[in-house]
Point group: C2
Amino acid sequence: VRVEGAGDSDSEITVAALGEDALVGSVIARYAASPSGVLVGPGDDAAVLEMPGRVVISTDTLVEGYDFLRKWSTAHDVGVKTAAQNLADIAAMGATPVALVVSVATPAELPATWARELADGLADECARAGAAVVGGDVSQATEIVITATALGLLTGPAVLRGGARPKDVVALAGATGFSAAGLALLRAETGGAGRAVLARLVRAHLAPRPGYSDGPVAAAAGATAMIDTSDGLLRDARRVAKASEVVLDLDSLALAPGEDLRAAATALGSPAAAMDWVLSGGEDHALLACFPLEVPLPAPFRRIGLVRADPEAGVLVDGRPYHGAEGWQHFR
Amino acid sequence: VRVEGAGDSDSEITVAALGEDALVGSVIARYAASPSGVLVGPGDDAAVLEMPGRVVISTDTLVEGYDFLRKWSTAHDVGVKTAAQNLADIAAMGATPVALVVSVATPAELPATWARELADGLADECARAGAAVVGGDVSQATEIVITATALGLLTGPAVLRGGARPKDVVALAGATGFSAAGLALLRAETGGAGRAVLARLVRAHLAPRPGYSDGPVAAAAGATAMIDTSDGLLRDARRVAKASEVVLDLDSLALAPGEDLRAAATALGSPAAAMDWVLSGGEDHALLACFPLEVPLPAPFRRIGLVRADPEAGVLVDGRPYHGAEGWQHFR
């Protein structure tokens, strides 16, 4: 799309100058590749999907200034993160991601290139998950607010939070603490530019890349309960514990921070932060799942604790309450 | 939920004081009634639905200050409008609304009662449509941004924008112009308080109540194309015309403003505004559909024009281009 009077580059054309119809048209062009189950993609009143199974749906929002900063994140990063947060919730039910719809509320002066790169990030992460962006909406607002809704397909039973039973093994796929460490590095402006290990943590914060297939793998292996650790391991484990009316007793040795997290904590001058990141840092989108004791844990799940019967549901670390940070909570 | 230090009424408790978990818990309680197809409702990582057919999905956003003002709309109104905008897009595909997920980004100082009344409005309008709120998300932002995503079930073929053929009849279910007239009354602060006919237009703007069953009825009757008139009759008709590569020739007599719109235009001192509202006013969520000439129009559709073959696709009124307002466009 060319706008009259524009130069060779359209890097400074705003979404307002481009206009809603042209903006939507140029973004839709980013979503051309549609899997076979997409009967109607973007561009009509709604999308139409062939979904031979049960349908799983979840929604999540990123707000500029609260969930991302344009000085830290590229538009592509924000697209990846938006898609990842939503698709990870689908995986956490044991389902396979299928589709995403995305609503973008934005100031009129947003560069149109930012909107297009956002679309690229969304499309890229959807492709990683085997899903597609099938629709969306654009509207005007004072700050950028991006809401995505993910759809997934479930052919077996859903794995809920409330199914953990005493003696189940607590297991984790993926790592926790990376996103929190990356955020701490960004805030400290050490950035990690010089050291690959730190840069990797920053990337984990800006553009998380969850393992979506871990969810269906856990479901097929007989997971009794599962949750996406989006708000911090302890907080999300507590949700499983409360819903299942059990105690999840986590093993601090199994959760000991690796070299990368320890390096970041040292670089920031607070070695103790590493374990706090692991236990309380959010936005990693690792999967916490419980499995019957007799089930061999499917890769990449590793054992991090045990489920215990207890009249007072909750989470323990090494058999004791853990007094540390509490995980991400909005409105504080 | 009681917050320490609060008085008898919680009308002044903010969402921040209540906290995210308590807020979500109290809102979820509003969504207790779930139709039989909802296997897992709000409260887990995602909702799970039994959907024996094709799945239709659409998303739409309302932003405070742009799409609603708290001085004009109650929270219940905003909930109804959010649900209606989304569910109408489902109907416009010929599908039956099934479920809604809702993401609310809000300032920390929003009264918790506002959030709960919003939930009530969403639930009420979903119930009118035979659907249910099955999930959501809450996050912090500078202004209120509400994004809903609607799911619908399609058992026959989808009715797209691009299927209109020359000689089809253009038909409309519902009225257009009411929402624009209501907005004009609100802006002029005549409010219509004293006159029921004007108050009805204001209600149509604040809390539209579309006829969701009209969509599946049109599909079953053999509609060739259909669109929700959310952005104004002419603009949406043009989308059908372009997608179908035809001309939609509308009949001004069939669209002549009724007594209520004329009364509002007179009250505002601009009698000519009534026809502009009909042709260009958005947010009415009437359904524009095309039917083969030989098909008896199903109620409540009424004939408003004819489809003509023309190399230059577009919309005419009485065979001529119409030079009036152009319908709602974001970013202007």
